[in-house]
Symmetry: C2
Subunit: 193 residues, 2 copies
């Protein structure tokens, strides 16, 4: 992806997500797009200005969005909306990125760490697992909260996304409980929170 002429149809996850937001929510300013990512429960992107502003210009160069100069007071403002080409690109991204995706096994930082936990003395392994359990219980609460705030009738897809977050969090919590049980033979299995 570097030395070569860049394939014009290739799209990063963030580019696609921005395109998706613009397409779904209608005309956006870079600022509203940023807000969207800043408020999103997923910590994948920072929503930093340094990412978003250049990105939307990139999208415009590729004619996936089009901007019109609005104005709020005297301040100039760009309103971006998705083009037909953009919709096509989004559509293609949604459908084509699945099959050959590397998404078969998603990343879990806790799993990465688990691989090297043998480096710790037993007591610290316990600390690790306990801490992780604490974090995960809070995450579960958050996920439940988020799910409540995105009811199915409002936007079924947002609802499904929130379900995904909940199910993944539950799975990780279950895993941690399992690990603790296997390591320390306690009988808390299934208690959860």
């Amino acid at each position: 992806m570097a030395r070569q002429k860049k394939d014009k149809t290739a799209t990063t996850e963030l580019e696609a997500a921005v395109l998706g937001v613009v397409g779904r929510d209608g005309p956006c300013t870079p600022y509203t797009i940023r807000q969207h990512f800043l408020e999103s429960p997923s910590p994948r992107w920072s929503g930093s200005a340094g990412a978003i502003y250049p990105l939307v210009r990139r999208l415009e160069t590729r004619k996936l969005v089009r901007s019109t100069a609005g104005a709020r007071g005297r301040r100039s403002q760009r309103n971006y909306r998705i083009t037909r080409r953009g919709r096509t690109a989004l559509n293609r991204w949604l459908l084509s990125s699945i099959a050959q995706s590397n998404a078969t096994l998603i990343d879990d930082p806790l799993r990465t760490r688990m691989l090297f936990l043998g480096a710790l003395p037993r007591g610290q392994v316990l600390t690790f697992v306990s801490d992780a359990l604490g974090v995960m219980r809070r995450a579960l609460h958050q996920a439940q909260q988020d799910l409540k705030e995105s009811p199915a009738p409002k936007d079924p897809f947002a609802h499904f996304a929130a379900r995904n977050a909940l199910l993944l969090t539950r799975a990780r919590l279950k895993w941690l409980v399992e690990v603790r049980a296997a390591q320390f033979g306690d009988s808390d299995v299934g208690k959860g929170t």
Copy 2:
């Protein structure tokens, strides 16, 4: 993390993972480290030479690993092993990165896509979900396979990691089945594969 002097104790996930591998498996050449990542089921890193070779030198600069010049035939070869400092750093990374981690909600590319699935006509939504189900069933097989190949007695932590992969994959599969049922009212729920 850019404009500022870099915090010497900061460590990227890949750096820590490499450090972990060197610490766990004993003296490594960059080549064996690469193999490790190339063979790993987790697609998070490519294990590219361009990443690994500079990285181990970076670790050596920071005195987290130390290299000795071995030789296979006349070919010079660097053998890296972890230092005491390296063990300390690894230890700290394992314990400290949890609490303030952004790992509370892990990323799922399918979830990202789900958010924008409203852009597709209904028929294509079905296609999307079906394709994803196919991918996920294969991923489930793979995860089960991997789990079998890392039995608990051999390395309990590797075993736990494989369990994590399996549970996460199951959760995603369950989620997709749920989505399909909600969208299309079919009664396949619970059938799975």
